[in-house]
Amino acid sequence: MIFQFDILLQQIINGLVLGSVYALVALGYTMVYGILGLINFAHGDVVMIGAMTALTIATALQTFAPEMPTVLVLLVAVAGAAPVCMALGYTMERVAYRPLRNAPRLAPLITAIGISMVLQAAAMMIWGRNYFTFPELVSHQPIMVLGATITPVQIMIVTLAAALMAGLTLMVNRTRIGRAMRATAENQPIAALMGVNVNGVISFTFIVGSGLGCVAGVMVAANYGIAHYYMGFILGLKAFTAAVLGGIGNIQGAMLGGLLLGLIESLGAGYIGDLTGGFLGSHYQDVFAFFVLIVVLIFKPSGLMGERVAERA
């Protein structure tokens, strides 16, 4: 095994890009989990709807207003898709989760699975089962950095994700609504007694999570240049894994878990063949990711940054 710095750097860049997207989606899972103790299985599909809506808007704009600058097209597409996702997140919570708040713990999990199926079916009805090419709104021209390459769209993904995560951290830690969110996560009835509008906070959490998910969906579609009705499933699964890796319910944990999972996957895919003497190829990258997750959880059963272990098994 010859160590090559440029290849390592390339894997790290790929990992960071992938990881930023995972982190953004993982935030949606972890915020909802932190407050409700619920795995929102349909979150991945909200991400998919965001990507598909943005794709439709962008394609329409490029057809009807070809002179429009591409960055503006992207902004309008995200601005159009985000409210759709937010409305979806809000409705989902009102219809499928709120009535079940005091039900047995697995009941909302099943409705979440049901909602996920409904959203996928809806996407198939609207867009069909084809793969769509996402227009190249941000350049994919590679830039050389120390022997590795990075594209402007990748730079945009990492910076935008960092900005959004910083914004979210500020909001949760410094604002009134953020304090209300933390109080609700800590103890719902007491927060209600202290005058926190618990239902409002929960709705707000779903809206913010869905909005972040929407941006992540657009990023993925823009990076790979492709979007389809099934993309939310795998992405959601990975992001959920990332959230658990970092300690589910913990916002910083989701960011760390997302970045780590992205790095693990891309380094795993790159080096697993060398590590196992060619026995296992790069199709085992998911095995590698889950294996790392299992090992981490054996030593830290509540994730890397999780503090409390859910007693409500």
């Binding site: 499928a96 009941a107 409705t111 049901g114 199926m117 026995f279």
Partner: protein, 357 residues
């Protein structure tokens, strides 16, 4: 009226008459179904029985012991591949059924313990994601273990698997008995029914046993269970192993029934469907779980056969792709059932009491 009914119910013979009636109904069911819907529906019935076995196995893990398992289909896969490898031209091994099913069950049980060991300390959703990962790992290995040594034949799967046969009696062939011709799907139905009944019996006996009560104690409060002298580690491992055993048996039967296995059959969605069967029916309650499994196995087929004609009758043409509509209605059904009956269609008495509080 109710008094008379209660008196009738109290009669010692009533239980036996009831059992006889249910038995007769179960024996005649494939003919009734075949008469109304054709042989394809008898096949659906066979699959429904496999689902019943799977759901009962998962019910031990999730319903009794309260360990959320999202990768349960892995054990089904292990059972199916064990059967496939030991009874097909792939390795040229052809073991008889009486050896295959116990081996499939045993291998699955070993995998159950293998999964159980590292996750003993995990709870709730951490457990869920690790089991999910375990299921995916098994599937990815099945998909890729065709190189460097060809073990599973990769994505193409293993075909020409030996049919289920008891001695010289091959279940896939038609046999005439008492002047009635039973076709392959019928024989499979009776064989699966026999095993399903056996599994139901084991589950019912387990539920009231020391082990069953220990599982429930762990589900309700692990720390208290430990304080009461329950060896939580062994009892939890036993739950994983028992659940996996039933999954392995169902998997072996599936391989023999289909004569073909491939990693495609063991995707995460399958685990989720089995979990839905358990929760939808009524977690921890055996009759409820059976009903949940029957509904989840037959509802998609039912929708498959009714959506097209219904659309044609309503609009005169096909407006929405039936497959898409099927997914949508299935999802809606899950949501609605849970909204109106959060504890499942037929919850266990204990849960009912908990909810009433």
């Amino acid at each position: 009226m109710t008094d008379r009914f209660a008196a009738l119910k109290a009669h010692p013979a009533a239980k036996w008459v009831g059992m006889l009636l249910i038995g007769a109904a179960l024996l005649l069911l494939p003919f009734a179904v075949g008469h109304v819907g054709g042989p394809a529906w008898v096949r659906v019935l066979d699959f429904a029985l496999l689902y019943v076995m799977l759901a009962l196995g998962l019910n031990i893990v999730v319903g009794f012991a309260g360990l959320l398992d999202l990768g349960y289909i892995a054990f089904y896969a292990v059972g199916a591949y064990t059967y496939a490898l030991l009874a097909s031209p792939h390795f040229g091994i052809h073991l008889p059924l009486w050896a295959l099913l116990p081996i499939a069950a045993g291998v699955a049980a070993i995998f159950g313990v293998l999964l159980g060991m590292p996750v003993l300390r995990l709870r709730g959703d951490y457990l869920a994601i690790v089991t999910l990962g375990f299921g995916e790992i098994i599937r990815i290995f099945l998909n890729n273990l065709n190189a460097p040594i060809n073990i599973t034949n990769g994505p193409q799967g293993i075909s020409r698997i030996d049919p289920l046969a008891v001695g010289d009696f091959t279940l896939t062939k038609s046999h005439t008995l008492f002047g009635i011709t039973f076709s392959g799907v019928h024989w499979h139905y009776y064989f699966f029914l026999l095993l399903a009944l056996l599994i139901i019996f084991i589950c019912m006996r387990l539920e009231d046993s020391r082990i069953g009560r220990a599982w429930v104690a762990i589900r309700e409060d692990e720390v208290a269970a430990k304080a009461m002298g329950i060896n939580t580690r062994n009892i939890k491992l036993l739950a994983f192993a028992m659940g996996a055993t039933f999954g392995g048996v169902a998997g072996g039967l599936f391989a023999g029934f289909q004569a073909f296995v491939s990693p495609e059959s063991f995707i995460l969605m399958e685990s989720i469907v089995v979990l839905c069967a358990v929760v939808l029916g009524g977690m921890g309650n055996i009759p409820g779980v059976i009903i949940g499994a029957l509904i989840l196995a037959t509802l998609p087929e039912f929708l498959r056969y009714t959506i097209m004609p219904a659309q044609q009758a309503l609009f005169g043409q096909q407006i929405v792709d039936p497959e898409v509509l099927r997914t949508m209605l299935f999802g809606l059904a899950l949501v609605l059932v849970m909204l109106f009956r959060p504890a499942g269609l037929w919850p266990s008495q204990v849960r009912k009491r908990e909810l009433a509080r």
